[in-house]
Symmetry: C2
Subunit: 400 residues, 2 copies
């Protein structure tokens, strides 16, 4: 057991978790300074640092001793109330605080729901491409992933219905707003149609929605959850809305599922951090969140527009570029002859990284795609980085 831990000691479930390509890249480059379009970091200039510092001071002064004690595994009730009330009002839904459970980011909600539902071999529907973190989290429960195409307005529902009809499906996972990595948002119609399918076939959807508040232009339509409340677990996150380091997200569940989620959450880590739940609640009730969100959207929209401009200016014409409707990512489709997992080797040498599409598929596809993050680079870096990617693409295409 010296330098390598003996592989045969590990469980099959652990061995099934795919390695994160991003992580391998980051390990490879070590401390080198890079232009990174790879991660999914919010822009730290937007964090309401002073306001959160004041909220932190206030809650520790008011309720320090309560904050420091063990607490219930469902989360801080007033924060659950705030979430229930905001999203009930936003979408005309009937969400009670009792349906809301606080988690460590929405990532933990994915992990716990996977633990609740997935037996080894169970069919789990994913969009193609899908969020890497969800693929990793769910893989630990040995599912049989079934990928459906992601069209301009959301998942291909004919394929979904075919799977519901002809396969053993336990769960569907979808990011309905500004999907990571594709940037695609479901149309209103598609949300309602998917809800209909869930109810007709008594199927369950994990509707992962971390980018709900990061829309460009008009608000996103109401979630699938609205139209099939008993068939959807709908997650949300403060990571993109306020700040990720606080590690607080939530999930809104059918009431009958709450005690089960609660038991599994308890087994995982007893309960989520108390201090940051109080801090968030204080921040949200003492500041103008919508003004903060408006600043965030404007900034990200500018960054996205800048990156799209540069991509249109420099990239070969036959590279397809998505126009993001929100979120943090732009998705490229490469022409024949270009492979993202090859391309990154040469851009990395020139100090630019991104995530090759392969990471977002479960069957080895995706090397004709690139995910670019635009929230954490300034216009100069965006231009320089895009230029380098474009040059390296052209080298390959000319050599073909």
């Amino acid at each position: 057991m010296e330098n390598q831990f003996p592989e045969e000691k590990f469980s099959e479930q652990y061995r099934n978790i795919p390695v994160s390509f991003v992580r391998s890249i980051l390990n490879a480059i070590g401390q080198q300074k890079m232009i990174s379009f790879a991660g999914g970091l919010p822009n730290p200039s937007l964090f309401p640092v002073d306001e959160l510092a004041e909220s932190t001071r206030a809650v520790m002064a008011d309720a320090g001793r309560n904050i420091l004690q063990y607490a219930g595994s469902l989360g801080y009730y007033p924060l659950r109330e705030w979430i229930a009330s905001r999203y009930s009002a936003k979408y005309g839904m009937k969400i009670t605080p009792e349906m809301v459970v606080i988690t460590n980011g929405s990532q933990q909600a994915i992990d716990i729901l996977s633990k609740l539902f997935i037996n080894p071999g169970d069919g789990v529907i994913l969009e193609k491409p899908s969020y890497l973190g969800a693929i990793q989290s769910m893989s630990a429960y040995l599912p049989n992933f079934k990928e459906v195409d992601l069209l301009e307005d959301g998942a291909d529902l004919a394929q979904v219905e075919d799977l519901f009809l002809n396969d053993e499906i336990k769960l569907m996972y979808a990011v309905t707003n500004a999907q990571n990595p594709s940037g695609i948002s479901y149309s209103d119609e598609k949300r309602q149609d998917l809800a209909l399918l869930l109810r007709r076939y008594n199927q369950f959807l994990l509707e992962d929605d971390p980018y709900n508040e990061i829309c460009f232009g008009e608000e996103f339509p109401a979630p699938v959850k609205k139209y099939a409340p008993d068939h959807v677990a709908w997650t949300g996150s403060f990571s993109k809305m306020v700040a990720p380091g606080l590690r607080n997200g939530w999930v809104i569940l059918p009431p009958a599922l709450v005690p089960h989620f609660d038991k599994a959450k308890q087994a995982a880590d007893l309960h989520s951090n108390n201090l940051t739940q109080y801090v968030l609640h204080h921040y949200l009730t003492h500041n103008d969140l919508d003004e903060h969100l408006s600043r965030t959207r404007t900034k990200y929209e500018e960054q996205a527009a800048c990156m799209v401009d540069m991509l249109n200016r420099y990239l070969p014409d036959d590279v397809k570029v998505t126009q993001p409707t929100g979120g943090m990512f732009i998705w490229l489709t490469l022409p024949d002859g270009l492979r993202a997992d090859e391309l990154i080797k040469s851009t990395m040498e020139r100090g630019v990284i991104f995530v090759p599409g392969n990471s977002f598929y479960t069957k080895g596809q995706g090397s004709n795609h690139i995910r670019l993050n635009f929230t954490n680079a300034d216009p100069d870096e965006i231009e320089k980085g895009v230029q380098i990617i474009a040059e390296e693409m052209k080298k390959v295409l000319c050599a073909v």
Copy 2:
């Protein structure tokens, strides 16, 4: 899917998690005021509220923007350094910060290590009785629990060796200091002998040690980890040492295991709360922790002594009472004719709750035991609660 969630939707792993008796009790009593010896809550009067409030202010002022961003899944490096340095010095061990991973309490370390190691049906050795939270967490990975007797000086090693020799064992779980629920601590000799067995049979121990700093009288001996560093994952927790609401614990791993733990931790919740890691590090490096621990130990030792006194004064003579060496619990062994799971029904009606021993066994045993928590009740409550328990015991014994 209205009021009951359809059971057949759930995974086998989830259905294998035992219900927490404590939770059922708490649900049953609702908001009624009770004398509770049931939970495992630290005494909130000991929380260093002002110091932590000051640390919170200081780190938000110093490093707010960093704290609020995503961070590495292994934890805040200076906090990992502090842990490595304290326990290297305390026990003459060679712990580097790279071996330390921060988790959401030590509970999450148990969950993630279980995910890493346990295939369905794998043999996992537990002490008899064992910590309920670990039983719940590990049960979700469908192990085949093998219980060994817990003697006055730790697990029965003849039974352990027999299992290592004749069974398929993947993992052993033990709480070596002031065990929850029994209060038993391993002798120095037994720690070294167990280490020898682990190395001889190339077996792996999860040494769970949340009560390390809560000893009465002299310090606990060095952990098993010292004598078999590559065969032990050793957890620790700030919950009992500083405050549980911050939800920060850690695990010290063989170096070769760290990248694997890291990958599984990432899939679970990306990383632990940043703010409280900074706060703890600031608190620990700007205050006299040992003075704080000394106050905590004195207080708990007084509370334990008070409860032991009352138990000796009021209980029937043939109830065996452990003398705790630290931690938070006293363990009772009942004579024939008394069943803890029956007794609690009558004490509950009179406003007193505790945890019947059944919760700490995996094969339905333990109804002849009671776990009493002494850290969260004042002397008057302790006397009144013990009197009521004693009266109810005598009623049953006289009726026999």
